[in-house]
């Protein structure tokens, strides 16, 4: 029997590519752009485009767990999912799994 849940995970990058504070944009096979973030020893995956006006968040800043869009400064705590500052919409996130030095993402975004 095929493990459907297992099949859902797609490889995103090598774990070694992301240290704390790093941002790495990847494109999933379904065309989604995902931003991988190094936060407190973990990898967090969020939608790569700002839910306000679609700015690539890879151009924003990541300080600790706070991601800031460079245009109108919407902010999110990507660990807790909290909206900060002027943010009016949540930032969709993705499930992340690490296995054998590889980061996998499940390509169904959910609101943080």
């Amino acid at each position: 029997m095929t493990d459907l849940v297992e099949q859902d995970w797609v490889p995103a990058c090598a774990r070694s590519e992301i240290s704390d504070g790093d941002k790495l944009e990847v494109e999933l096979p379904n065309g989604d752009f995902v931003l991988l973030l190094g936060v407190n020893g973990k990898v967090i995956a969020v939608c790569a485009d700002c839910p306000h006006q679609d700015t690539p968040l890879a151009e924003g800043s990541l300080i600790g767990s706070v991601l800031t869009c460079p245009v109108h400064f919407w902010q999110w705590d990507v660990e807790s999912g909290e909206m900060l500052g002027p943010a009016e919409l949540p930032l969709p996130s993705y499930d992340v799994r690490e296995d054998a030095g590889q980061v996998f993402i499940r390509p169904h975004s959910v609101a943080l």
């Binding site: 245009v71 500052g85 002027p86």
Partner: protein, 348 residues
Amino acid sequence: MNKIVVTDRTGESQRFDASDKMRILHAGLLAGVGLPHECGTGTCGMCKAKLETGEIADLWPEAPGRRSCRRPGEVLLCQSAAVNDVSLSLRSAFSPPLRPACERVKGRLTLEETLTDDVALFRCTLERPLVYEAGQFALVGLPDLSGPRAWSMIDYTPGAAHFDFLLRRAPGGGASAIVFDTSDELDVELIAPLGQAIFDPDEGRPFVAIAGGSGIAGMLAILARAEAEGPVNAGTSHIVFGLRDPDSAYLLDRLDAAVSQMNGALRVTVAFSDAPASALLQQAHANLIFTEGLAHDVAAPIVEQAKHGDVKPVYFVAGPPAMVDATLQHLLTVLNVAAEDVRYDRFG
């Protein structure tokens, strides 16, 4: 004329006409459509849209803003002209239409005053006056140059039929070569006003304006309006003017006079990044505070103090992109200034 239909992510559609000579963003803004944008000149990437049907000509395939076009069919509206009827979709929502509305007007550009080897004041006489706000900019099309350039109005004279600009020569720059190296008057075409980094004295708030080099341009309009109309009793406003060294300094007389005219309501700090001010320079501009350092570092204690004043200031930041980004980062993440209090223009 080509028919343009733009649909945003909420499903709302707006229609306007655009000739094959006109950039779609500019045609839409002139028609009063709230198309998302920032620079209007190909660098920021905010005007991207997906081409659904029809054909466009990409007027500047190398535009830096194209980095935000990562999906098939995405184009920059400020660098696209319609070849035939076109429909486009936005992954964002329409913005509110521009207020004041932007218009297209012809003008004639002349050199007013050379300030340094690389910086000069220009006057653009307009065929009719335009209404604008202090802190806004114009898109200026020059003869035989592809794409307009964004230049900030440096004065606040909305009833007058001219704009004044402060321009810095960009090494190898297309517009720079034309405006600095020709002595003739130039016929130009403007789309104005644009820009959200506006100062409105009716808000009753002081300002902290942090400028890198020619980023002082828009701050001068803000200053002109503050000198003329207040804000009355709102507390002290500040300008931090970042420059490389005393030899490349300009406008110090103008700023010195403004401090004296505003009678304690304005403090101006000039921050030299590479060399200190001489005693002579300080004596000649006794109303200015001279210091060494980068504009955002020098601004930090000023911001800390202003933040705790009775009335929350508005923060303005303008200059080269790297300077603006460093300053915004510092304001928002180190000094914990609220994002809604910050207005900025990246000059590039």
